[in-house]
Amino acid sequence: MILRERNLELTLPPGVKAWKFDDDTHGLSHCMKAVDFIVELADRFLFIEIKDPEYSSATSRVQQKFIQDFQSGRLDEDLKYKYRDSFLYQWACGSLNDKPIYYFVVVVLSNLTEADLLARTEALRRQLPQQGPSSGVRRRRIVEDCAVFNLQTWNSKLPQYQIRRVRS
């Protein structure tokens, strides 16, 4: 199965249930944000958001602005709401079961170093309610874990879910 976001393609192994979430069928984009893809594996859900400032028609100004927002943490706010709204939407649809949900963000910027990705992963984790309240009232986790990748680290860590750029 292949899912597409602009001219990036996510290839999934046969039998995996997955769908593009952030498209015209969403219907609530005026008030709720959405991650790009949702993948359901045997033991977990993956919420996948792709940020692609290197798409072919992006101007250098757009790229520069994105890099600044990303490195300064301004983008984390947007990423947080994308996760929360996607979770709520899927909950309302009854799509979620007891499987844990992992939130993965792929930033298509070739000059991002592992130090940048490590810092952004930690920052994103701080934005998400990964830990429950100390009272212990929570019955299930809202998000299991998260990570930020660039294209290279995604494809090296998750070779079974390759993302590649194709001609538009």
Partner: protein, 338 residues
């Protein structure tokens, strides 16, 4: 006139090393024991002798402090008779020194090029890892009168900090840098009887009561204010990140780059990713030369690879450490995904 090149043969950790320098900013990085500080001390000694009566090898001994003051102990250890050579170059001039592992006193070393080398003075400043201004009162006289086991860079930096303000107006660039630093340290530095204070609206705060990182910025303020760091001078800074909160790195690097653009040649040794990154983010093209020191896998000898581009630094010991941490972080996040 800037330092252009350093060549070492069989000196301390180095079998054979030749490094070309940028007239603006030079950054040394590498794992512990690859000789970053040694390189800076050699070049500093060569700069400092232009304005003192000390010989080059005597100054090397004073900044390296080998046992019994024997220059021979600075020769790379082979277990047999060996001779080291040191060559420092600046536009058209060369200062060389050579001595064997049996050399006991600086006067026995061979030094060439000193006369031409000293024709033009170089104002050089070496900021060591350990902050010294808080210990300044009485240190100079103690150092001058007694044999205390302190590398001379510590006495030198106190001397530089205590210099009175240079005559003449402060130019706009210096004034701007001073204002940036004043913002960071929230005051100005004031000196009385060799004791340093941070002066602001609340009064005078002794340097001993001030955070060590802020004392270092205070030192930089003094060196700019008293005119030590002017066009043609050379600044060496060993691990500027030490004791400084990373939130101040952006300001610090902005100041260092501005000094370099004003004609101060800068040498920095660092272990810190953010220091490197700030230089990378703020530099102009061909302004900062990164010198990666590493041990050759086959020979085990220290080598140096110099590049202007941050992404081309290879090997980058700091980035490798982050990559390892990132790999383990992602493994944790993936939790056995199939």
């Amino acid at each position: 006139m800037t330092i252009t090149r350093l060549k070492l043969e069989r000196f301390t950790a180095f079998e054979s090393l030749e490094v070309e320098f940028s007239p603006r900013v030079n950054i040394f990085l590498g794992t512990n024991g690859t000789g970053k500080t040694h390189l800076m001390k050699v070049v500093y000694a060569a700069c400092d002798v232009t304005k003192s009566d000390r010989g080059f090898v005597e100054k090397l001994v004073r900044v390296f402090l080998p046992a019994e003051g024997a220059p021979g102990r600075l020769v790379k250890r082979y277990g047999q008779s060996t001779r080291c050579t040191i060559e420092v170059s600046r536009d058209g001039r060369k200062l060389s020194a050579s001595f064997s592992n049996h050399t006991r006193v600086p006067a026995s070393a061979t030094v060439t090029g000193m006369r031409g080398w000293k024709e033009e003075r170089i104002e050089a400043v070496y900021i060591p890892v350990k902050e010294m201004l808080a210990n300044a009162p009485g240190f100079r006289s103690l150092y001058a009168q007694r044999e205390i086991h302190f590398e001379e860079i510590y006495a030198d930096i106190v001397d530089r900090a205590l210099l009175p303000v240079r005559r003449g107006p402060v130019d706009a660039r210096r004034r701007r840098l001073l204002e940036i630093l004043q913002g960071a340290i929230e005051g100005r530095v004031h000196q009385e009887n060799e004791q340093f204070f941070l002066r602001n609206r609340q009064g005078n705060l002794e340097f001993t009561l001030l955070a060590e990182g802020l004392r270092k910025l205070g030192l930089l303020w003094l060196l700019i204010q008293n005119g030590t760091l002017l066009e043609g001078s050379v600044l060496f800074w060993d691990e500027p990140e030490a004791n400084l909160n990373p939130s101040l790195f952006k300001t610090l690097i902005e100041i260092l780059l501005e000094l370099a653009r004003g004609g101060v040649q800068i040498f920095v040794a660092t272990h810190d990713y953010l220091i490197l990154k700030e230089f990378d983010l703020q530099k102009h093209e061909k302004e900062v030369l990164f010198h990666a020191l590493y041990r050759d896998e086959e020979t085990g000898e220290v080598q140096c690879r110099s590049v202007f581009s941050y992404v081309e630094i290879d090997p980058n010991a700091i980035a490798q450490a982050f990559a390892s941490a990132y790999d383990r972080e992602v493994e944790r996040s993936l939790k056995g995904i199939r």
